[in-house]
């Protein structure tokens, strides 16, 4: 009888913890998608003194993933039982898959993943879920359901960029998009959000060019130079990330047309914010990615301390990060500690 009572108490505690898992993170950001359903209570509970392995599998070294890792480590390092490791996917899908397999073999409790492809990592995520390992994706969602997804608000952020950009262009003119390579969901979200935003708020603005610049500042310089040679009447540039937008700034400075151009980026890295402060880049969508890492780590910590395994989530949780459209008017509100 007492066993039954103890079990009921334990289940109650776990149910509470499961609610706290994403709830705590959601409270921090103020945003969470509805319909998060959490399943039956956990069976495996991490012992107090047991070492717990957590790892972050990034696509490749980048300022964004480095900042996530700083945020993750900040939270996880306060807990003496957690071993955290950052791993490099070398920009290759097969390396990411191999790293996932290795982590599953190692008995990692939580894997933070920035998938290089939304479908290709699906089988690995499924395998992890079968072993009870919680997978938390960062920024790029996967087609296979997993414990949670913590994302910069790509689509709506891009819509707001379009709104701000259209206003500064006076509601008319031509825009060039410097885009990411195809085959990744984030590209579609950031492009579709921007295109839909323009259609909604400023339908007279025409998307005159949409070319791939491989996330790269150097490539963006070459691509935009060619675009401007062919279409010199373009007055707006949208870089799907900041590096490409800054490449656009370089070209316009060189051609002496920067004062006539409206150039927006996306991400909010320090170099972009400084460019805005110098009056070069018009704006960007800023997300505090340290905080994004902290939220993901907070969710992971509660999964582990509460003994909640991946098998117990009936539906994937999704957390959209708050953002600021940083322009010359708003960039001052971004504190030095938030800059990455």
């Amino acid at each position: 009888m007492s066993n039954k009572k103890e079990r009921a108490e334990q289940e109650g505690r776990r149910d509470f913890l499961k609610g706290v898992v994403l709830g705590s993170a959601a409270l921090g950001s103020g945003l969470v998608t509805p319909g998060l359903v959490i399943g039956e209570s956990g069976k495996a509970m991490a012992a107090q003194d047991e070492r717990v392995k957590m790892a972050f599998v990034q696509i490749q070294p980048h300022t964004v993933s480095s900042a996530w890792s700083v945020g993750l480590e900040e939270v996880l390092s306060t807990q003496q039982t957690i071993d955290y490791q950052q791993l490099d996917g070398q920009n290759k899908v097969e390396v990411q898959v191999s790293l996932m397999d290795t982590l599953i073999n190692e008995g990692a409790k939580v894997i933070f993943l920035q998938p290089i492809d939304s479908v290709a990592l699906g089988p690995s995520i499924k395998k992890a879920r079968r072993r009870g390992i919680a997978v938390i994706t960062l920024n790029i969602d996967a087609s296979e359901e997993h414990a949670a997804h913590v994302e910069m608000n790509h689509y709506y952020g891009a819509m707001d960029i379009a709104k701000e950009m259209g206003k500064r262009m006076g509601g008319k003119g031509k825009v060039a998009i410097l885009n990411a390579p195809p085959g990744i969901i984030i590209r579609d979200q950031r492009t579709n959000g921007f295109v839909d935003g323009m259609k909604k708020y400023y339908p007279d603005i025409q998307i005159a060019a949409d070319q791939v610049a491989d996330w790269s500042r150097k490539k963006a310089q070459d691509v935009l130079s060619n675009i401007l040679t062919a279409q010199p009447d373009i007055t707006g540039v949208y870089g799907v990330n900041d590096s490409m937008a800054l490449g656009g700034v370089d070209v316009c400075k060189q051609k002496g047309i920067l004062d006539k151009m409206v150039i927006f980026g996306n991400d909010g890295e320090t170099a972009a914010l400084e460019s805005i402060e110098r009056g070069e880049l018009t704006g960007t969508q800023f997300t505090d990615v340290y905080q994004q890492g902290r939220f993901a780590a907070a969710a992971a910590s509660v999964f582990v301390s509460g003994g909640v395994t991946a098998k117990e989530f009936k539906q994937q949780g999704k957390l959209l990060m708050p953002y600021v459209i940083a322009t010359s008017e708003t960039v001052g509100s971004i504190q030095p500690a938030q800059r990455w």
Binding site: A120, G122, P182, G183
Partner: protein
């Protein structure tokens, strides 16, 4: 002892086993059935690519385009299966045919246009990658981009054999589940090694690589041999594409990016001489698996992946240096024999 020394790649095999033993002792979770399973599933397709790459190297060439051919094969598979819903038993031969033709085109550029293999395959590396983007079903039909491959003929390629359960050994120890790709690799090894040692066609690769002029004078069709070497390289890229894409359940435009370097490294570490004329099918397999245990072992030891890349590079330099030493030794021996006679 003399017989042992005559075994091909004995030094490499010894180094591989020593390193394996080292990781078993020092890397946590390395000596587990699931880690062995990860090694076999993750590196069998690279070993297939390395075997394919060994043919152009054996005839004093190189194939830099195999990563792009692999991506091409993968995208053809995705398009036919997901977009056009062609049955898997038709898709597989179609992919192999496309990759074989891509390899033969490389060979034709080398043989008939007399382009340097490095230049010819560097050009097709870019061209085939361009074709991949052009035919990408994920771009042409964005609504299908996140749809995985479900054809049972294709998903069946990612099957495993519970060897412990079948043999009853799982009662005594934990056994890995062996992936189908490993059995494919074993089959390819047997075919290629038999071809090299028992057939004139197979021996021609070494003869042509050793001395093309002597091979021509001996009546060997040098052009056909070189053409076949690139064709076989393309074909193996097709097999690797099928293994990888059916495992991932999708193809990406960037699939196989940089894979040519891994395959070349595996082949060279496996004793395929860059001077041509030397090699077998066993060395590239050990070369690929060696790179695999380095990645897995060092990851399990918690060592940074930048360090892993440095170590892989050092091993490659060691293998090339050893190849050069052996080549100089053979040259000195041949000269000594000539002066002796």
């Amino acid at each position: 002892m003399v017989r042992l020394r005559q075994l091909p790649n004995i030094e490499l095999l010894a180094f591989f086993l020593l390193l394996y033993a080292f990781f078993c002792f020092y890397a946590p979770h390395f000596n587990t059935a699931s880690n062995l399973e990860n090694l076999l599933v993750g590196y069998s397709f690279i070993a297939v690519l390395a075997i394919g790459q060994s043919f152009p190297i054996m005839v004093r060439g190189i194939d830099l385009s195999i990563g792009s051919i692999m991506a091409l094969g993968g995208m053809v598979l995705f398009d036919l299966s997901v977009i056009y819903e062609v049955p898997g038993y038709v898709v597989i031969p179609a992919v192999l045919l496309v990759c074989l033709l891509a390899g033969l085109l490389n060979g034709a550029l080398v043989v008939w246009l007399r382009l340097q293999p490095f230049v010819a395959t560097l050009s097709t590396l870019a061209a085939y990658r361009g074709v991949v983007y052009a035919i990408s079903g994920r771009q042409l039909f964005p609504e299908m981009a996140t749809r995985p491959i479900t054809d049972p003929w294709l998903t069946g390629m990612d099957s495993y054999l519970d060897i412990g359960g079948v043999t009853g050994l799982d009662q005594y120890m934990e056994m890995p589940w062996l992936p189908l790709s490993f059995f494919l690799l074993v089959g390819i090894f047997i075919i290629i090694q038999t071809m090299h040692s028992k057939t004139q066609f197979g021996m021609n690769f070494k003869i042509v690589g050793g001395n093309p002029e002597a091979a021509r004078l001996a009546g060997i069709n040098v052009k056909l041999t070189i053409l076949s070497a690139y064709g076989l390289s393309g074909l193996s890229a097709g097999i690797a594409a099928i293994i990888l894409v059916t495992r991932l359940t999708t193809a990406t435009e960037a699939l196989g990016n940089g894979m040519e370097l891994t395959a070349i490294a595996s082949a060279v570490i496996g004793g395929i001489s860059l001077q041509g004329g030397i090699g077998n099918a066993f060395g590239p397999i050990i070369g690929a698996m060696l790179l695999g245990i380095i990645l897995l072992g060092l990851t399990l030891l918690g060592i940074s992946q930048f360090v892993q890349q440095i170590i892989s590079g050092l091993i490659l330099i060691g293998a090339i240096g050893y190849d050069k030493l052996l080549s100089d030794f053979r040259m000195r021996k041949a000269r000594a024999m000539q002066s002796g006679s």
